[in-house]
Symmetry: C2
């Protein structure tokens, strides 16, 4: 699988100098933007060079056997090209062209032809009807048509991260990539798998166990082999988040016209996800808003949450949200309340802790008091950044969270544009709404619980602490 993301040599079949040629956009990306160090070849009918990459009229004429072939030509030419790949000994092919299983009976026949040749020659195929792969560390990307956003995309490659995405639709790849501009998402790899006639999400989950990936985000329109997916997920030591289309019959029908998927009964899928510890996302936006909770914060081991606000209304709002998310608004012990009283400037020493105008030290004291309290499993700071020192205290809070091994889901109400800027600049995992922050706590606890159920961590690791608190 590795060489799908890091080929030492690649041929782009269909890259030419015609106007609007999609293959050429891949060559331009590799050459001009990524300065990809591997060998790149173009194959087109004239055998012409593309952006100085040598051109050939057939794969058979290439001077070497490339690690990877990327095909972006009209569907009817693809079976012939796959046969050429077989002759040349190419073992990895990404078919980006559309018009196969999703396009009616002719397409389906071509698909079968491709499958037969591939199987007979041990060729692994990604796609068709996809964008292929992007690897931030290896600086490889074979997505077509992304040129206009190159400069902005750049940020992805400048700061590689630990989230890997498996996405079944090109449109959603674009949406997720755009979120990187303003959300705290460090990316490792992105792969768009389209109709997934061969390589599927389960193969990739397995592959992502061995690389820098910390969280796997997925968008699926269909599940080809449910058992295989769930087996891979169950064994995964890295959290898997899935947004799945086809929860309703109408969604299934719509997805079939789009990526030829056949979505199975959603209730069965839902219960399988629970067994396998898969986090089911509730909206596309959660693909980028949720992972930071798992990459930047310790897990939420219990359900007892303390809120801390400098803007009263948000405490009330979030109390409702916590309960609706099946989390607990913790009743603070009297000794904790005493400590809060001593911290000063506290309007309300009960949960939600509500403070008035106060100096930075008060914020720090309150973080410390709440995180160190036995009865508290996690923190929900709802802090308007009226004064910039609040940012500094949030940076300290992140350290304290690591120390106490308890997470904080930070929401900074008001001045959202400012909050988003702070998030990116200081790399603070800030959520954009109270709903998102509460949801993040919920996701974190769900995942921690699944690790326990799958026996990746001892069942009693936090039980003792919980018991203690109940006597308090």
């Amino acid at each position: 699988m590795e060489k799908f993301f890091d080929p030492k040599s690649v041929v782009v079949v269909g890259a030419s100098n015609s106007p609007f040629n999609l293959g050429a956009t891949i060559c331009n990306m590799l050459k001009d933007y990524l300065k990809y160090p591997g060998a790149v070849y173009a194959v087109n009918s004239k055998g012409e060079k593309v952006n100085d990459y040598p051109g050939y009229s057939s794969i058979r004429d290439l001077p070497e056997t490339p690690d990877l072939a990327v095909i972006i030509v009209a569907a009817k030419h693809v079976p012939g090209i796959i046969r050429d790949c077989a002759v040349k000994g190419i073992k990895r092919v990404i078919i980006e062209s559309a018009g196969f299983s999703e396009g009616g009976s002719d397409g389906k026949a071509m698909q079968r032809e491709i499958d037969d040749v591939a199987r007979a020659n041990d060729i692994r195929i990604m796609g068709p009807n996809c964008l292929g792969t992007l690897d931030t560390r290896k600086k490889f990307c074979c997505f077509y048509g992304v040129n206009p956003s190159l400069v902005e995309m750049g940020r992805i490659f400048e700061a590689p991260g630990n989230i890997s995405y498996i996405i079944q639709s090109g449109g959603i790849v674009v949406l997720v990539i755009e979120s990187f501009f303003y959300d705290l998402v460090g990316v490792n790899k992105v792969v768009s798998i389209g109709n997934k006639c061969d390589v599927d999400e389960a193969d990739l989950i397995e592959y992502f166990q061995k690389d820098e990936t910390e969280v796997i985000g997925m968008y699926l329109e269909s599940v080809a082999d449910g058992r295989k997916l769930m087996e891979a997920a169950k064994k995964s030591r890295k959290p898997i988040m899935i947004y799945k289309v086809g929860r309703t019959q109408e969604g299934v029908m719509a997805a079939m016209s789009h990526t030829a998927g056949m979505a199975s009964n959603d209730k069965i899928f839902e219960s399988a996800c629970k067994q396998a510890g898969i986090i089911r996302l509730k909206s596309i936006d959660e693909l980028h808003s949720m992972p930071k909770m798992l990459t930047e914060m310790p897990p939420l081991k219990g359900k007892r949450i303390a809120m801390f606000t400098n803007s009263g209304a948000f405490g009330s709002i979030s109390a409702d949200l916590l309960v609706e998310a099946d989390l607990h608004v913790v009743r603070l012990k009297s000794q904790t309340q005493e400590k809060l009283k001593k911290a000063g400037q506290v309007f309300n020493i009960k949960n939600p802790v509500d403070i008035g105008p106060a100096p930075p030290q008060t914020y720090l004291d309150i973080y410390e008091i709440l995180l160190s309290a036995d009865e508290v499993d996690g923190l929900l700071p709802l802090l308007s950044v009226w004064q910039t020192f609040v940012i500094d205290t949030l940076l300290e809070l992140m350290k304290m969270c690591k120390h106490y091994e308890k997470p904080a889901a930070i929401y900074t109400p008001n001045a959202m544009a400012k909050s988003i800027a702070i998030r990116t600049k200081h790399r603070i995992p800030i959520f954009e709404t109270a709903e998102q922050a509460v949801r993040a706590l919920s996701v974190s606890h769900y995942y921690y619980d699944s690790l326990r159920k799958r026996k990746f961590i001892p069942a009693d690791s936090s039980a003792k602490k919980e018991k203690l608190s109940h006597t308090g």
Copy 2:
């Protein structure tokens, strides 16, 4: 009530030249920013001028009886000031100070004293613990502490609109006002009612029946008189949207420490809302994201929705969302599908209609075909603005919607920053996510249905049309 929003003369009690004085921020706003034409007086212990507004040491010394008194002093001084108001004959008072019912037994005693004096002297009181009123048309605002955002706030006053907000918490006022910078929200009035010891949401609903208000948005932490609220709502010919805190016991507790509210059982509230046609909002953000559907688009009279996308995945995603929102993914009639086929460039002539690269006229043709189809009640365009002409077609779509009296909930996936800029510049009601767009359709239909149930419109107005379609 009118003079709470448009006083010919106002006294700000507590405005002085001390550093960080909150009353002074009100004077500065009225003088420097709004250039408020009415008379403004300051009352403070030294009787000093504030920003050139004449100052007095007591209300009793004012040269006239102002239409409105705005009080922002420590709570303990407020009862005395109310007595001064009574002596002077002032009939409207906004108490912005905190520290009454929400602050323990001393506060409650003061509150009772105020209530007694007010009742005996026919004084109407707004607050305490509030920000008061803002009127975009009269250019009046007595919110304290908003100076730093003045310039940006300006946009509200530059383009008055038709949404009025009743908000029980200052923090949420700020959040909503900030949304005006990037969302399509034309504001008429904003009123922050705090502990609402006298003037409450029902009084304001009644008042907003007679002014330019088209939609009423509300944030409530408590309902003082449920019957009064529901009576006012039932009679309202303008849609009322409410986000209410205290849906859970924990939310009730938190709200009590904040604005002294006593939230009633949520299930009772929910069913009362349904009877009264009140739209219950699911998040704070809906306070600004939902009204545009009702101000900019005709109502959704039936449940049958056609989707139209140039970015396949979003059709599948939205099909699920529509069904989950109890709306219908309409099965297009064969004659409609024939027309779509003739329009050209259509990948999928079934719902969701999916098109490839196409010229503007194709977009316009498809809008027309779908909106004019008997079987379609509303449109869900899911259109990436890959080319700028899409914006022009959306402007045409808005006209067509008015013509056919059917709404479109527009979502422009990808390039969200661009979409938000387009929304503001061209005044196109664009939603930020597919979830929001579907929710807007749902809200629109819920409201239309409530008008029918409350017999504001004939029950059979669209029944005939629905019947026809079921035979098609």
